[in-house]
Symmetry: C2
Subunit: 247 residues, 2 copies
Amino acid sequence: MEIITSLSNEKVINWSKLNQKKYRDLSNTFIVEGEHLVMEALKTGCVVELICDEDKIMPVNVPIHYVTKPVLEKISNLPSAPDIMAVCNKLPEKEIGCRLLLIDELQDPGNLGTIIRSAVAFNIDTIVLGKNSVDQYNEKVIRASEGMLFHINIVNRDLMEFIPLLKTEGYQVLGTNVTHGTALRDIRLRSKFAFIIGNEGNGVKEDILDLCDDYIYIPMNEACESLNAGVASGIILYEINNHYFGS
Amino acid sequence: MEIITSLSNEKVINWSKLNQKKYRDLSNTFIVEGEHLVMEALKTGCVVELICDEDKIMPVNVPIHYVTKPVLEKISNLPSAPDIMAVCNKLPEKEIGCRLLLIDELQDPGNLGTIIRSAVAFNIDTIVLGKNSVDQYNEKVIRASEGMLFHINIVNRDLMEFIPLLKTEGYQVLGTNVTHGTALRDIRLRSKFAFIIGNEGNGVKEDILDLCDDYIYIPMNEACESLNAGVASGIILYEINNHYFGS
Protein backbone atom coordinates (compact mmCIF):
# COMPACT_ATOMS: atom_id res chain seq x y z
CA MET A 1 0.00 0.00 0.00
CA GLU A 2 1.37 3.33 -1.05
CA ILE A 3 1.03 6.14 1.50
CA ILE A 4 1.35 9.78 0.54
CA THR A 5 3.53 11.46 3.13
CA SER A 6 4.79 14.59 1.39
CA LEU A 7 2.96 17.88 1.84
CA SER A 8 4.38 19.00 -1.48
CA ASN A 9 3.03 16.00 -3.38
CA GLU A 10 1.18 17.32 -6.42
CA LYS A 11 -2.09 15.56 -5.50
CA VAL A 12 -1.95 17.02 -2.00
CA ILE A 13 -1.42 20.50 -3.36
CA ASN A 14 -4.36 20.11 -5.75
CA TRP A 15 -6.65 18.76 -3.03
CA SER A 16 -5.79 21.70 -0.76
CA LYS A 17 -6.65 24.13 -3.51
CA LEU A 18 -10.24 22.84 -3.52
CA ASN A 19 -10.80 25.10 -0.49
CA GLN A 20 -10.99 27.91 -3.03
CA LYS A 21 -14.00 28.43 -5.30
CA LYS A 22 -11.72 29.22 -8.24
CA TYR A 23 -10.16 25.74 -8.18
CA ARG A 24 -13.49 24.04 -7.55
CA ASP A 25 -14.81 25.77 -10.67
CA LEU A 26 -11.70 24.87 -12.73
CA SER A 27 -11.74 21.19 -11.76
CA ASN A 28 -15.53 20.91 -11.43
CA THR A 29 -14.96 19.05 -8.18
CA PHE A 30 -15.31 19.75 -4.47
CA ILE A 31 -14.27 18.08 -1.26
CA VAL A 32 -16.25 16.78 1.70
CA GLU A 33 -14.75 15.91 5.08
CA GLY A 34 -15.67 13.30 7.65
CA GLU A 35 -17.46 9.96 7.58
CA HIS A 36 -21.06 11.24 7.60
CA LEU A 37 -20.63 13.50 4.58
CA VAL A 38 -18.46 10.96 2.73
CA MET A 39 -21.20 8.33 3.16
CA GLU A 40 -23.81 10.76 1.80
CA ALA A 41 -21.55 11.50 -1.16
CA LEU A 42 -20.94 7.79 -1.85
CA LYS A 43 -24.69 7.15 -1.92
CA THR A 44 -25.03 9.87 -4.56
CA GLY A 45 -22.35 8.27 -6.76
CA CYS A 46 -20.42 11.51 -7.21
CA VAL A 47 -17.21 10.46 -5.44
CA VAL A 48 -14.08 10.61 -7.65
CA GLU A 49 -11.60 9.44 -5.03
CA LEU A 50 -11.25 8.99 -1.29
CA ILE A 51 -8.47 10.40 0.85
CA CYS A 52 -7.99 8.27 3.95
CA ASP A 53 -5.84 8.01 7.02
CA GLU A 54 -3.39 5.11 6.56
CA ASP A 55 -5.22 3.11 9.29
CA LYS A 56 -8.68 3.48 7.78
CA ILE A 57 -10.31 0.58 5.96
CA MET A 58 -13.02 1.47 3.44
CA PRO A 59 -14.52 -1.41 1.43
CA VAL A 60 -15.77 0.72 -1.46
CA ASN A 61 -15.39 0.65 -5.18
CA VAL A 62 -13.69 4.03 -5.74
CA PRO A 63 -9.97 4.88 -5.85
CA ILE A 64 -8.50 5.37 -2.37
CA HIS A 65 -5.40 7.39 -1.55
CA TYR A 66 -3.85 6.68 1.82
CA VAL A 67 -2.16 9.63 3.46
CA THR A 68 -0.54 10.58 6.75
CA LYS A 69 -2.17 12.78 9.41
CA PRO A 70 -0.15 15.88 8.47
CA VAL A 71 -1.41 15.51 4.90
CA LEU A 72 -5.01 15.29 6.14
CA GLU A 73 -4.38 18.38 8.24
CA LYS A 74 -3.03 20.27 5.26
CA ILE A 75 -6.15 19.52 3.20
CA SER A 76 -8.72 19.93 5.96
CA ASN A 77 -10.69 23.08 6.76
CA LEU A 78 -11.61 21.82 10.21
CA PRO A 79 -9.87 22.55 13.52
CA SER A 80 -9.30 18.81 13.83
CA ALA A 81 -8.81 16.93 10.55
CA PRO A 82 -11.08 13.87 10.08
CA ASP A 83 -9.62 10.53 8.98
CA ILE A 84 -11.55 10.48 5.71
CA MET A 85 -12.43 12.90 2.95
CA ALA A 86 -13.85 12.54 -0.54
CA VAL A 87 -13.20 14.44 -3.73
CA CYS A 88 -16.55 14.65 -5.54
CA ASN A 89 -17.74 15.74 -8.95
CA LYS A 90 -20.00 18.75 -8.70
CA LEU A 91 -23.61 17.63 -8.74
CA PRO A 92 -25.33 17.90 -12.14
CA GLU A 93 -28.12 20.46 -12.48
CA LYS A 94 -31.47 18.77 -12.99
CA GLU A 95 -34.76 20.01 -14.35
CA ILE A 96 -36.45 22.46 -12.00
CA GLY A 97 -39.67 21.31 -10.36
CA CYS A 98 -42.75 23.17 -9.16
CA ARG A 99 -41.59 24.30 -5.71
CA LEU A 100 -38.60 26.61 -5.99
CA LEU A 101 -36.50 28.52 -3.50
CA LEU A 102 -34.58 31.45 -5.00
CA ILE A 103 -31.62 32.84 -3.07
CA ASP A 104 -30.37 36.37 -3.70
CA GLU A 105 -26.95 37.47 -2.40
CA LEU A 106 -26.88 35.36 0.76
CA GLN A 107 -23.39 35.74 2.22
CA ASP A 108 -23.02 33.51 5.26
CA PRO A 109 -22.11 29.88 4.50
CA GLY A 110 -23.74 28.69 7.75
CA ASN A 111 -27.00 30.37 6.73
CA LEU A 112 -26.96 28.83 3.26
CA GLY A 113 -26.25 25.37 4.69
CA THR A 114 -29.06 25.74 7.23
CA ILE A 115 -31.46 26.89 4.52
CA ILE A 116 -30.54 23.92 2.28
CA ARG A 117 -31.33 21.62 5.22
CA SER A 118 -34.71 23.32 5.79
CA ALA A 119 -35.47 23.25 2.05
CA VAL A 120 -35.04 19.46 1.95
CA ALA A 121 -37.12 19.07 5.12
CA PHE A 122 -39.99 21.05 3.62
CA ASN A 123 -40.09 19.55 0.14
CA ILE A 124 -38.58 22.26 -2.00
CA ASP A 125 -37.65 20.75 -5.42
CA THR A 126 -34.94 23.11 -6.53
CA ILE A 127 -32.81 25.88 -5.05
CA VAL A 128 -31.88 28.61 -7.52
CA LEU A 129 -28.74 30.38 -6.32
CA GLY A 130 -28.36 33.90 -7.65
CA LYS A 131 -25.11 35.64 -8.44
CA ASN A 132 -23.13 37.00 -5.48
CA SER A 133 -24.41 34.31 -3.14
CA VAL A 134 -21.92 32.14 -1.28
CA ASP A 135 -20.86 29.03 -3.29
CA GLN A 136 -22.88 25.90 -2.49
CA TYR A 137 -19.66 23.85 -2.53
CA ASN A 138 -18.02 25.94 0.19
CA GLU A 139 -16.99 23.50 2.93
CA LYS A 140 -18.97 25.38 5.62
CA VAL A 141 -22.12 25.32 3.51
CA ILE A 142 -21.87 21.56 3.03
CA ARG A 143 -21.21 21.04 6.74
CA ALA A 144 -24.11 23.27 7.89
CA SER A 145 -26.39 21.47 5.39
CA GLU A 146 -25.60 18.21 7.23
CA GLY A 147 -25.18 16.54 3.86
CA MET A 148 -28.62 17.67 2.63
CA LEU A 149 -26.79 19.30 -0.31
CA PHE A 150 -26.81 15.80 -1.83
CA HIS A 151 -30.61 15.57 -1.56
CA ILE A 152 -31.72 18.60 -3.51
CA ASN A 153 -31.30 20.06 -6.97
CA ILE A 154 -29.32 23.32 -6.87
CA VAL A 155 -28.90 25.46 -9.98
CA ASN A 156 -27.02 28.74 -10.49
CA ARG A 157 -28.79 31.51 -12.39
CA ASP A 158 -28.94 35.27 -12.79
CA LEU A 159 -32.18 35.95 -10.92
CA MET A 160 -32.94 39.16 -12.84
CA GLU A 161 -33.08 37.09 -16.02
CA PHE A 162 -34.52 33.92 -14.51
CA ILE A 163 -37.52 35.35 -12.63
CA PRO A 164 -39.19 36.81 -15.76
CA LEU A 165 -38.79 33.37 -17.39
CA LEU A 166 -40.48 31.72 -14.42
CA LYS A 167 -43.36 34.19 -14.66
CA THR A 168 -43.98 33.35 -18.31
CA GLU A 169 -44.17 29.70 -17.20
CA GLY A 170 -46.90 30.50 -14.66
CA TYR A 171 -44.83 30.39 -11.48
CA GLN A 172 -46.10 32.53 -8.60
CA VAL A 173 -43.12 34.59 -7.42
CA LEU A 174 -43.16 35.37 -3.69
CA GLY A 175 -40.98 37.75 -1.72
CA THR A 176 -40.90 39.00 1.86
CA ASN A 177 -41.84 42.54 2.69
CA VAL A 178 -42.44 43.87 6.18
CA THR A 179 -44.39 46.98 5.25
CA HIS A 180 -47.06 45.46 3.02
CA GLY A 181 -48.12 41.96 2.16
CA THR A 182 -49.98 38.95 3.45
CA ALA A 183 -49.38 37.32 6.84
CA LEU A 184 -47.55 34.06 6.25
CA ARG A 185 -50.39 31.86 7.50
CA ASP A 186 -52.86 33.45 5.08
CA ILE A 187 -50.92 32.96 1.85
CA ARG A 188 -52.50 31.20 -1.11
CA LEU A 189 -50.11 29.23 -3.27
CA ARG A 190 -50.36 28.33 -6.93
CA SER A 191 -49.31 24.85 -8.03
CA LYS A 192 -45.97 26.30 -9.17
CA PHE A 193 -44.22 28.84 -6.99
CA ALA A 194 -40.82 30.42 -6.39
CA PHE A 195 -40.06 31.98 -3.00
CA ILE A 196 -37.14 34.43 -2.80
CA ILE A 197 -34.80 34.78 0.20
CA GLY A 198 -32.49 37.78 0.29
CA ASN A 199 -29.33 38.98 1.93
CA GLU A 200 -29.01 38.68 5.75
CA GLY A 201 -28.79 42.40 6.40
CA ASN A 202 -30.63 44.03 3.54
CA GLY A 203 -33.22 41.49 2.46
CA VAL A 204 -34.16 41.01 -1.17
CA LYS A 205 -32.88 43.70 -3.55
CA GLU A 206 -35.48 46.28 -4.65
CA ASP A 207 -35.33 45.46 -8.37
CA ILE A 208 -35.89 41.77 -7.65
CA LEU A 209 -38.65 42.52 -5.15
CA ASP A 210 -40.43 44.52 -7.84
CA LEU A 211 -40.77 41.32 -9.90
CA CYS A 212 -42.77 39.50 -7.19
CA ASP A 213 -46.45 38.62 -7.55
CA ASP A 214 -47.08 38.44 -3.81
CA TYR A 215 -45.41 39.60 -0.62
CA ILE A 216 -45.50 37.83 2.71
CA TYR A 217 -44.43 38.70 6.23
CA ILE A 218 -44.09 36.83 9.50
CA PRO A 219 -46.21 38.56 12.18
CA MET A 220 -44.15 39.13 15.31
CA ASN A 221 -43.90 41.16 18.51
CA GLU A 222 -42.98 44.76 17.79
CA ALA A 223 -40.03 44.62 20.22
CA CYS A 224 -38.32 42.37 17.67
CA GLU A 225 -37.31 43.95 14.38
CA SER A 226 -36.36 40.79 12.56
CA LEU A 227 -35.43 37.13 12.91
CA ASN A 228 -32.19 35.36 12.12
CA ALA A 229 -32.11 34.75 8.31
CA GLY A 230 -31.98 30.96 8.68
CA VAL A 231 -34.85 30.98 11.19
CA ALA A 232 -37.07 33.25 9.08
CA SER A 233 -36.49 31.07 6.01
CA GLY A 234 -37.20 27.92 8.01
CA ILE A 235 -40.52 29.27 9.28
CA ILE A 236 -41.61 30.35 5.82
CA LEU A 237 -40.64 27.01 4.24
CA TYR A 238 -42.46 25.15 7.03
CA GLU A 239 -45.65 27.14 6.44
CA ILE A 240 -45.42 26.94 2.65
CA ASN A 241 -45.12 23.15 2.97
CA ASN A 242 -48.20 23.10 5.24
CA HIS A 243 -50.19 25.15 2.75
CA TYR A 244 -49.04 23.20 -0.28
CA PHE A 245 -49.54 19.70 1.08
CA GLY A 246 -51.78 20.36 4.09
CA SER A 247 -55.43 19.56 4.37
CA MET B 1 -10.54 64.55 30.46
CA GLU B 2 -8.67 61.57 31.80
CA ILE B 3 -7.86 58.83 29.30
CA ILE B 4 -6.92 55.34 30.38
CA THR B 5 -3.93 54.27 28.30
CA SER B 6 -2.39 51.44 30.32
CA LEU B 7 -3.30 47.83 29.56
CA SER B 8 -2.36 46.98 33.14
CA ASN B 9 -4.71 49.55 34.66
CA GLU B 10 -6.79 47.76 37.29
CA LYS B 11 -10.12 48.74 35.70
CA VAL B 12 -8.95 47.46 32.31
CA ILE B 13 -7.92 44.15 33.83
CA ASN B 14 -11.29 43.80 35.56
CA TRP B 15 -13.25 44.67 32.41
CA SER B 16 -11.29 42.08 30.41
CA LYS B 17 -12.13 39.44 32.98
CA LEU B 18 -15.83 39.87 32.23
CA ASN B 19 -15.23 37.65 29.20
CA GLN B 20 -15.29 34.81 31.70
CA LYS B 21 -18.51 33.56 33.33
CA LYS B 22 -16.74 33.22 36.70
CA TYR B 23 -16.03 36.94 36.87
CA ARG B 24 -19.46 37.88 35.55
CA ASP B 25 -20.95 35.83 38.39
CA LEU B 26 -18.62 37.34 41.02
CA SER B 27 -19.29 40.94 39.98
CA ASN B 28 -22.90 40.36 38.89
CA THR B 29 -22.12 42.38 35.78
CA PHE B 30 -21.55 41.73 32.10
CA ILE B 31 -20.31 43.68 29.14
CA VAL B 32 -21.89 44.58 25.81
CA GLU B 33 -19.98 45.86 22.79
CA GLY B 34 -20.94 48.26 20.05
CA GLU B 35 -23.41 51.11 19.70
CA HIS B 36 -26.55 49.05 18.97
CA LEU B 37 -26.24 46.87 22.06
CA VAL B 38 -25.11 49.78 24.25
CA MET B 39 -28.24 51.73 23.23
CA GLU B 40 -30.44 48.75 24.08
CA ALA B 41 -28.71 48.45 27.45
CA LEU B 42 -29.10 52.18 28.17
CA LYS B 43 -32.86 51.95 27.48
CA THR B 44 -33.08 49.16 30.06
CA GLY B 45 -31.32 51.28 32.71
CA CYS B 46 -28.85 48.53 33.60
CA VAL B 47 -25.66 50.32 32.50
CA VAL B 48 -23.10 50.81 35.29
CA GLU B 49 -20.46 52.58 33.20
CA LEU B 50 -19.48 53.21 29.61
CA ILE B 51 -16.08 52.51 28.09
CA CYS B 52 -15.48 54.78 25.10
CA ASP B 53 -12.89 55.61 22.54
CA GLU B 54 -11.30 58.95 23.44
CA ASP B 55 -12.94 60.59 20.37
CA LYS B 56 -16.47 59.41 21.16
CA ILE B 57 -19.06 61.81 22.55
CA MET B 58 -21.94 60.25 24.49
CA PRO B 59 -24.42 62.66 26.11
CA VAL B 60 -25.70 60.23 28.73
CA ASN B 61 -26.10 60.27 32.45
CA VAL B 62 -23.82 57.36 33.38
CA PRO B 63 -20.11 57.36 34.25
CA ILE B 64 -17.89 57.32 31.15
CA HIS B 65 -14.32 56.06 31.01
CA TYR B 66 -12.32 57.20 28.01
CA VAL B 67 -9.71 54.76 26.81
CA THR B 68 -7.31 54.29 23.92
CA LYS B 69 -7.83 51.86 21.02
CA PRO B 70 -5.37 49.28 22.41
CA VAL B 71 -7.39 49.24 25.65
CA LEU B 72 -10.63 48.67 23.72
CA GLU B 73 -8.91 45.86 21.82
CA LYS B 74 -7.79 44.25 25.07
CA ILE B 75 -11.35 44.21 26.44
CA SER B 76 -13.17 43.31 23.21
CA ASN B 77 -14.16 39.82 22.10
CA LEU B 78 -14.63 40.94 18.52
CA PRO B 79 -12.15 40.70 15.65
CA SER B 80 -12.38 44.49 15.38
CA ALA B 81 -13.00 46.35 18.66
CA PRO B 82 -15.94 48.79 18.61
CA ASP B 83 -15.54 52.36 19.90
CA ILE B 84 -18.03 51.89 22.72
CA MET B 85 -18.87 49.25 25.29
CA ALA B 86 -21.01 49.18 28.42
CA VAL B 87 -20.60 47.39 31.71
CA CYS B 88 -24.11 46.38 32.81
CA ASN B 89 -25.69 44.98 35.93
CA LYS B 90 -27.11 41.53 35.28
CA LEU B 91 -30.82 41.81 34.58
CA PRO B 92 -33.07 41.07 37.57
CA GLU B 93 -35.20 37.93 37.40
CA LYS B 94 -38.89 38.82 37.21
CA GLU B 95 -42.02 36.83 37.91
CA ILE B 96 -42.59 34.11 35.32
CA GLY B 97 -45.60 34.55 33.05
CA CYS B 98 -47.87 32.06 31.28
CA ARG B 99 -45.82 31.32 28.16
CA LEU B 100 -42.51 29.76 29.07
CA LEU B 101 -39.57 28.45 27.10
CA LEU B 102 -37.36 25.99 29.01
CA ILE B 103 -33.84 25.35 27.73
CA ASP B 104 -31.97 22.20 28.65
CA GLU B 105 -28.20 21.94 28.09
CA LEU B 106 -28.01 24.08 24.98
CA GLN B 107 -24.30 24.54 24.23
CA ASP B 108 -23.86 26.87 21.29
CA PRO B 109 -23.97 30.59 22.14
CA GLY B 110 -25.13 31.47 18.61
CA ASN B 111 -28.06 29.07 18.98
CA LEU B 112 -29.07 30.49 22.38
CA GLY B 113 -28.91 34.05 21.05
CA THR B 114 -30.99 33.11 18.00
CA ILE B 115 -33.55 31.38 20.21
CA ILE B 116 -33.80 34.42 22.53
CA ARG B 117 -34.49 36.55 19.45
CA SER B 118 -37.22 34.15 18.24
CA ALA B 119 -38.70 33.95 21.77
CA VAL B 120 -39.18 37.73 21.86
CA ALA B 121 -40.62 37.72 18.33
CA PHE B 122 -43.19 35.09 19.28
CA ASN B 123 -44.33 36.44 22.63
CA ILE B 124 -42.68 34.08 25.09
CA ASP B 125 -42.84 35.68 28.61
CA THR B 126 -39.91 33.98 30.27
CA ILE B 127 -36.96 31.80 29.29
CA VAL B 128 -35.94 29.29 31.96
CA LEU B 129 -32.29 28.32 31.43
CA GLY B 130 -31.40 24.95 32.90
CA LYS B 131 -28.05 23.97 34.34
CA ASN B 132 -25.28 23.18 31.85
CA SER B 133 -26.65 25.56 29.25
CA VAL B 134 -24.42 28.27 27.89
CA ASP B 135 -24.50 31.49 30.00
CA GLN B 136 -26.99 34.10 28.74
CA TYR B 137 -24.39 36.83 29.41
CA ASN B 138 -21.82 35.24 27.10
CA GLU B 139 -20.84 37.91 24.58
CA LYS B 140 -21.76 35.73 21.59
CA VAL B 141 -25.20 35.00 23.03
CA ILE B 142 -25.92 38.71 23.47
CA ARG B 143 -24.68 39.45 19.96
CA ALA B 144 -26.71 36.67 18.30
CA SER B 145 -29.79 37.82 20.25
CA GLU B 146 -29.41 41.23 18.53
CA GLY B 147 -30.05 42.86 21.90
CA MET B 148 -33.33 40.96 22.43
CA LEU B 149 -31.79 39.70 25.71
CA PHE B 150 -32.90 43.06 27.13
CA HIS B 151 -36.52 42.46 26.11
CA ILE B 152 -37.28 39.18 27.86
CA ASN B 153 -37.24 37.75 31.36
CA ILE B 154 -34.57 35.04 31.72
CA VAL B 155 -34.30 32.97 34.90
CA ASN B 156 -31.85 30.20 35.84
CA ARG B 157 -33.30 27.04 37.40
CA ASP B 158 -32.64 23.34 37.84
CA LEU B 159 -35.21 21.99 35.39
CA MET B 160 -35.57 18.64 37.19
CA GLU B 161 -36.83 20.55 40.23
CA PHE B 162 -38.62 23.34 38.41
CA ILE B 163 -40.78 21.32 35.99
CA PRO B 164 -42.66 19.44 38.76
CA LEU B 165 -43.39 22.83 40.36
CA LEU B 166 -44.78 24.14 37.07
CA LYS B 167 -47.01 21.07 36.78
CA THR B 168 -48.53 21.65 40.21
CA GLU B 169 -49.32 25.18 39.02
CA GLY B 170 -51.23 23.84 36.00
CA TYR B 171 -48.65 24.52 33.30
CA GLN B 172 -48.81 22.21 30.27
CA VAL B 173 -45.27 20.90 29.76
CA LEU B 174 -44.39 20.25 26.11
CA GLY B 175 -41.36 18.47 24.66
CA THR B 176 -40.31 17.36 21.22
CA ASN B 177 -40.23 13.72 20.26
CA VAL B 178 -39.80 12.38 16.76
CA THR B 179 -41.14 8.88 17.36
CA HIS B 180 -44.47 9.70 18.97
CA GLY B 181 -46.46 12.85 19.55
CA THR B 182 -48.66 15.39 17.86
CA ALA B 183 -47.79 17.19 14.62
CA LEU B 184 -46.94 20.78 15.48
CA ARG B 185 -49.88 22.30 13.65
CA ASP B 186 -52.36 20.12 15.57
CA ILE B 187 -51.25 20.95 19.11
CA ARG B 188 -53.75 22.24 21.64
CA LEU B 189 -52.34 24.65 24.19
CA ARG B 190 -53.52 25.36 27.71
CA SER B 191 -53.53 28.98 28.92
CA LYS B 192 -50.23 28.29 30.73
CA PHE B 193 -47.55 26.28 28.99
CA ALA B 194 -43.81 25.53 29.11
CA PHE B 195 -42.07 24.27 25.98
CA ILE B 196 -38.69 22.56 26.40
CA ILE B 197 -35.79 22.83 23.93
CA GLY B 198 -32.89 20.43 24.36
CA ASN B 199 -29.27 20.04 23.40
CA GLU B 200 -28.29 20.51 19.73
CA GLY B 201 -27.08 16.95 19.20
CA ASN B 202 -29.04 14.86 21.68
CA GLY B 203 -32.32 16.71 22.17
CA VAL B 204 -34.03 16.87 25.54
CA LYS B 205 -32.65 14.47 28.19
CA GLU B 206 -34.74 11.35 28.80
CA ASP B 207 -35.52 12.09 32.46
CA ILE B 208 -36.76 15.56 31.56
CA LEU B 209 -38.73 14.27 28.59
CA ASP B 210 -40.51 11.84 30.93
CA LEU B 211 -41.97 14.84 32.79
CA CYS B 212 -43.74 16.23 29.71
CA ASP B 213 -47.53 16.23 29.32
CA ASP B 214 -47.44 16.37 25.52
CA TYR B 215 -44.96 15.69 22.75
CA ILE B 216 -44.80 17.49 19.45
CA TYR B 217 -42.89 16.96 16.24
CA ILE B 218 -42.34 18.94 13.05
CA PRO B 219 -43.44 16.85 10.05
CA MET B 220 -40.75 16.82 7.40
CA ASN B 221 -39.43 14.97 4.36
CA GLU B 222 -37.87 11.66 5.34
CA ALA B 223 -34.58 12.51 3.56
CA CYS B 224 -34.00 15.05 6.33
CA GLU B 225 -33.32 13.68 9.80
CA SER B 226 -33.49 16.94 11.69
CA LEU B 227 -33.37 20.70 11.44
CA ASN B 228 -30.84 23.14 12.82
CA ALA B 229 -31.66 23.68 16.55
CA GLY B 230 -32.32 27.39 16.12
CA VAL B 231 -34.56 26.79 13.10
CA ALA B 232 -36.57 24.02 14.78
CA SER B 233 -37.12 26.21 17.85
CA GLY B 234 -38.11 29.17 15.68
CA ILE B 235 -40.72 27.12 13.80
CA ILE B 236 -42.21 25.74 17.02
CA LEU B 237 -42.34 29.17 18.67
CA TYR B 238 -43.95 30.62 15.53
CA GLU B 239 -46.65 27.95 15.52
CA ILE B 240 -47.23 28.11 19.29
CA ASN B 241 -47.73 31.87 18.94
CA ASN B 242 -50.24 31.27 16.11
CA HIS B 243 -52.17 28.75 18.20
CA TYR B 244 -52.12 30.84 21.35
CA PHE B 245 -53.13 34.16 19.83
CA GLY B 246 -54.48 33.12 16.45
CA SER B 247 -58.09 32.94 15.42
